[in-house]
Symmetry: C2
Subunit: 569 residues, 2 copies
C-alpha cells in the first residue's frame, strides 16, 4: 500500500509513559494506541503482524489435528462455579452482572468453555483423542499492566484443549504440541524461544512447560544450564548445593548482641555465610499461622516451591516479634504450633551457626540431624546463578530473564471431573477424559519479538511476521523518472505476491528513512534521481546485513529472490 | 477431514428450546452450543462458515481501501462519556467496574474507539479520506435474545468507520461501501439480500440503509414496491394515502353511548373506518406529558416516525382516563399542555367522525382545516400492505419481514465533534471530519442464510460459505474396494485444493445421509459396493438439483469442475 494512505502518526520522541523498547518503538511507529490501563487498539501494522502470527499458529494447530472453534468472551458464572474456579481464582477474573442481575465473567482462559462444548459431543471412547482451539480476545484484570503489549489486561490468545482416554495418549500428544510450539516460534522468526519446566499454578495438573523469549525486560527468571539442555523456570528449578564439611562440634550458646543478619553474624563469628543456618518466617494466608523455613545462610527461599510443598498460600510474616526473637530464630526452641520446613541445603550439615531462639544469642556447632530428631528436608531454596545443574551436575547454571510467550499443561481430569464430562470406555464404563491445554499470547509474542529484534530506530521484524516484506523509498518522486521507476517496481512486486509499502511522499530523506526504520520492514529499496543516474536502486536490509546497488534490469528478480530467501530463513 | 474425527454430536429430535429453523438445524447439526442467554460457542462447522464469510468481507473491505485494525472489546467508560453515549444508551450497553473500581463497558459498537484511534493520527486534510475496520467480538445486553444466532448478546461483527473532509466525499464513499455490501452478500451466495432505507436510531446521522434478508422469522417489517425499486424499513417508510371525498357537512355532536372503538363507531354510524379520525395517546418519557396523535381511522401510528418527529422518546399513555375521555378523544377540546400531532392522512379531509372530547359523544362532519385553525400535518402513520408506493405512486406496496444482516450510516460529525477530533484544512483551519460507519453481523448472516436455504433435513449451504465443498459418503467402507476408491478420491480432491469431509464410518446409509444433510455440504459423492459394481459413484447436490452416476474414470475431474462452477455461481 501507499505509505501516505497508512493511518498513523509516527514520531521521534520517547513517550513519557513508556519504559521498554517494544512499548516505545511500537508507540512511536503507530502500531498500538493505549485506550485504558492494559487495553490497546492496534493500528494496521500491528494488526498485520498479529494476523501473520495467527496464521502460522493456525497452520501448526491444524497440522496436529486441531479443530478451530469459538468460545464466548463473556461466560455465565455458572460455568466457573462448576469447575470451582469462581471461588478459587482471585480478582484477576473480572466478574460482573448483566441487566437481569445474572453473574458473568470475562474469559481469561477457557477450560470451562472447552469442557462445556465437548461435553455431550464426545460420548464414546471412539471419539478420542481430539483437540479444539480458538484464537480470541481474553481479559485478565491484571493489577500491574505494564510495558505495552508485554503485560496487558485485554489480549488475543490462541488457546487449545486436548482430550484423551489415557495418560499415555495425553503424553504422546503433549509431545506433538510441544513440537508444534517449537515450529511456531521458528516460523515466526524467533528461534531463540526456549522451553522451561514450569509451575502449573491455578491451571492445576502436574507437568507444564513455558516457552520463554529470553530478554532483560522479562519478569520471569529462568535457570538455564550452559553444559546440558536443562532449562527451568526458577520458580520450580531444583536447588542443588554441595556443603563443606565443617567437622563436628558441640552445640554451644554464644552471645551475639544485636547481630541480626547473616552477614553481620558471619563477620562477627568469622565464618562463611554458608556455615550458617538461616530462618525465614512466613504466615499462612488462611489462618495467619507461622511457618519457619530454615536453609543455608547464603540461600533464599523460593516461595513458589514453598507454597507447592505446603499446599497453601503463604505470605512473609508480619509482627512476628510478638512470638519470635526475630534475628535470633533457630530450629531449637520454636514456639508451639509453628510449621517448620528444612531445606535440602541443610541435609547432613554439621557445625553450623544458627539462632538460639532468644534475643542476642546464637548457637554454634549446630548439626541438623543430631539436634533435630527425625528431621525431614525438602527443596524450597532458590537455585543460584553459577549453581549446580540438577540434570548434569556441573556448576553451569546461569540465571536469565525471559518473557513467557506460550505454555503447555497436562491438566489431567481436574476440569472433566468437576464438570462431569464423561465418555464410555470399551467396556461401557463411564470415564473422565484427561485434558491438556496449550496457550500462546499473540500480542505478547509480537512485542517480545520487537524486544529481541530492534535497534534505536525501530523494530527489525523477521520476514515471516513483518507487516510488509518490501519498503520502497522513492526520493523526489515528484520527478517523472523516479515516479515511473518506483511505480513500475511497486506494481511488479505486488503482482509477484510481495507485500509492499510504497513511500513516494514529498518529504526529506531523513523523514522517509526514520519512518521506514520504525516500520521495520526487512527489505528496503531506495531510489532517487541519483541512483537512477547510475542505473540502479539501492537495496538495504533493516538488519543492515546487506547494503548494495542493484542494477535496474534485474532489480525485481533479485528482490523477489531475497524476500523468498528471508522467508525461508 | 474425516467425519469420525469431527467434534459434535448430531441428532434428529427438535430441541425443545428452539423455534426457528436455523436454530433447530444448527443445534441438531452441532454447529452451535448455547452457553448462556444469547451466548454461544461455535463448533468447527460453524467456525468454518464464519471464517469464509469473514474472508469475503475482508476482501471487499480491502478493495475499498479499508485498513484492518483491532479495537478493544472492553473499553473505559471515559470514551463513552466523551461521546455522550454513556448516558444516552440504555442498559443494552453492559457497564461494570474493574478491580480498581474503574468503570468499563463491553463494546457493542466502536465509533468511540475508532475516533480515539484516528484522533491524532490524521491531523492534515491530506490524510483523508480513510477507512478502518475490524472483525471482532461484541456484546449487547439484549433483553430478548432469541432464535439461536439471529438475536444474540455476544456476536462477531465487522464494523468499519470512514473519515472524510466533505459531505460529498462521504456520499461518494458511502456509494462504494454500498456496492461492497452488495458484493459481499452476492459472494456469500445470498443475493436475495435487499437494501432498505432505515432509521439511524442511536447511531445518529441522517442517511442510513439496512441490508435485509427477507424471511418470515425476521423481526423487521419491510415495505417493498412490486412496481419499482422502492424498499424501506417500515419504521421510516412514508405512508401515502388517498382519501375519499365525503362532501361537506356541519360539525354535529352525536350520542354514541359506550362506543369506544373505531370498528364499533363505524358500524354504529354506518360509515367506513376511513371516514373516521382516530386519536392515539402517548406520553413523553421525559416528563409524562401527553401527546395526542390523530390519524385516519384505518391506519396505525408508526412510533419510530413519531419519535423522530418529536425528537424524544414516548410510550403509549397509561392512566389517561384521569385527563381524557378515553374512547371519545377528538381534536376539539383537548386538555391544555397536550402535544397534538396530525397525520398526513387527515390533510384535506371533510365530513369525518371523530371524538367529541366527552364521554359517550362523537362529532360527525369534522373537517380538519376548517375545525382546527392553522393545522400542520406530518407523516406518522404506518405504511399499509397494498398501499401506495411513495416513489412510483402505484398501489404496489407489499409488507414483508426480514432479518437485518448489515447496515451503513452517514454519521456526520456527531462523534468527531463530541470527542474533539479535528484536522487542519487547506487553509490551516481546524475542522471536524465527517464519518460513515458500516456493519455486518457474521453469525446472523450465517443463521439467516440457513433460514432461507434449508429443508427439513438440514441447511443447504451455498458453495461460497459451505463448511466443506464436497462430502464423500463411503458406504461399507470396511470392504477393501470401497475403502480404496474412496481414499483415492479423498486424496485427489484434497490435493486439488477442494475441502472435503469424508465419512467412512461403519454406520447405516440412513445415519450417514442424515448427518450429511445436517452438514449441508453442496456436493455429495456416494459410493458403495453397488455403485462400484456399475463402475460409478453417485453424485448428488444438497439442493437436489443434480443426482446422477459418474463413471469412475472421470469422477475427480467432474467433481472439481462442478465445485468451481458452483463457487462462481
Amino acid at each position: 500500500m501507499k505509505l501516505d494512505r497508512l493511518l498513523g502518526f509516527r514520531f521521534k520522541e520517547t513517550p513519557s509513559d513508556c519504559q521498554v523498547a517494544s512499548h516505545i518503538l511500537m508507540t512511536r511507529g503507530a502500531y498500538i494506541k493505549n485506550v485504558g490501563s492494559g487495553i490497546f487498539s492496534l493500528f494496521p501494522p500491528a494488526k498485520r503482524i498479529a494476523q501473520k502470527i495467527e496464521q502460522i499458529i493456525r497452520e501448526e494447530m491444524n497440522a496436529i489435528d486441531g479443530q478451530e472453534v469459538t468460545f464466548p468472551v463473556v461466560m455465565p458464572a455458572s460455568l466457573w462455579k462448576e469447575s470451582g474456579r469462581w471461588d478459587s481464582v482471585g480478582s484477576e477474573l473480572l466478574r460482573f452482572a448483566d441487566r437481569m442481575g445474572s453473574d458473568l465473567v470475562l474469559g481469561m482462559t477457557h477450560e470451562e468453555a472447552a469442557v462445556h462444548l465437548a461435553r455431550g459431543a464426545a460420548q464414546s471412547y471412539q471419539n478420542y483423542p481430539f483437540m479444539i482451539y480458538q484464537v480470541q480476545t481474553k481479559f485478565r484484570d491484571e493489577p500491574r499492566a505494564r510495558a505495552g503489549l508485554i503485560r496487558v489486561r485485554e489480549f488475543t490468545m490462541k488457546d487449545a484443549y486436548s482430550f484423551h482416554t489415557s495418560q499415555e495418549d495425553l503424553e504422546a500428544y503433549y509431545q506433538k504440541a510441544y513440537q508444534a510450539y517449537v515450529n511456531i516460534f521458528n516460523r515466526c522468526g524467533l528461534p531463540e524461544v526456549i522451553s522451561v519446566k514450569s509451575d502449573s499454578g491455578m491451571m492445576g495438573g502436574k507437568v507444564a512447560h513455558e516457552f520463554m523469549l529470553p530478554t532483560q525486560i522479562g519478569e520471569d527468571y529462568l535457570a538455564v544450564c550452559t553444559a546440558c539442555d536443562y532449562r527451568s523456570n526458577m520458580e520450580v528449578a531444583q536447588a542443588v548445593v554441595k556443603n563443606e564439611n565443617y567437622g563436628d562440634a558441640p552445640l554451644k550458646k554464644v552471645h551475639t548482641p544485636g547481630i541480626k543478619t547473616i552477614d553481620a553474624l558471619a563477620a562477627f563469628l568469622h565464618v562463611a555465610p554458608q556455615q550458617t543456618c538461616k530462618a525465614v518466617l512466613y504466615q499462612k494466608n488462611a489462618d495467619d499461622a507461622f511457618v519457619a523455613v530454615f536453609l543455608r545462610g547464603d540461600l533464599e527461599v523460593n516461595e513458589v516451591k514453598l507454597r507447592n510443598l505446603l499446599g497453601e498460600e503463604v505470605h512473609p510474616a508480619v509482627n512476628a516479634d510478638a512470638v519470635f526473637a526475630c534475628g535470633f530464630v533457630g530450629p531449637i526452641g520454636l514456639p508451639r504450633g509453628c510449621t517448620v520446613v528444612f531445606d535440602n541445603s541443610l541435609r547432613g550439615t554439621t557445625n553450623l551457626v544458627t539462632g538460639a531462639g532468644e534475643a542476642d544469642y546464637h548457637y554454634t556447632g549446630f548439626a541438623l540431624e543430631r539436634d533435630v530428631p527425625e528431621v525431614r528436608c525438602s527443596d524450597v531454596a532458590k537455585i543460584l546463578d553459577g549453581g549446580i545443574c540438577p540434570q548434569c551436575g556441573n556448576h553451569s547454571i546461569r540465571l536469565t530473564r525471559g518473557v513467557e510467550v506460550g505454555n503447555i499443561f497436562q491438566l489431567g481430569i481436574k476440569y472433566t471431573k468437576s464438570m462431569e464430562m464423561t465418555y464410555l470406555d470399551q467396556n461401557g464404563k463411564p470415564q473422565y477424559p484427561i485434558m491438556g491445554c496449550y496457550g500462546i499470547g499473540v500480542g505478547r509474542l509480537m512485542a517480545s519479538g520487537c524486544e529481541v529484534r530492534h535497534d534505536d530506530y525501530g523494530p527489525i521484524w523477521p520476514m515471516q511476521i513483518a507487516p510488509w516484506q518490501v519498503h520502497i523509498c522513492a526520493l523526489r518522486a515528484q520527478e517523472e523518472a523516479v515516479a515511473q521507476a518506483a511505480g513500475t517496481l511497486y506494481d511488479a512486486l505486488q503482482k509477484a505476491g510481495i507485500e509492499v509499502i510504497f513511500d513516494d511522499r514529498k518529504v526529506s530523506a531523513g523523514v522517509m528513512f526514520s519512518d521506514a526504520d520504525l516500520l521495520g520492514v526487512p527489505v528496503r529499496v531506495i531510489l532517487s534521481p541519483k541512483t537512477l543516474a547510475r542505473n540502479a536502486m539501492e537495496l538495504t536490509t533493516r538488519d543492515k546485513a546487506i547494503k548494495k546497488d542493484l542494477p535496474l534490469e534485474s532489480i525485481e528478480k533479485e528482490i523477489i529472490a531475497l524476500v523468498n530467501a528471508l522467508r525461508r530463513a
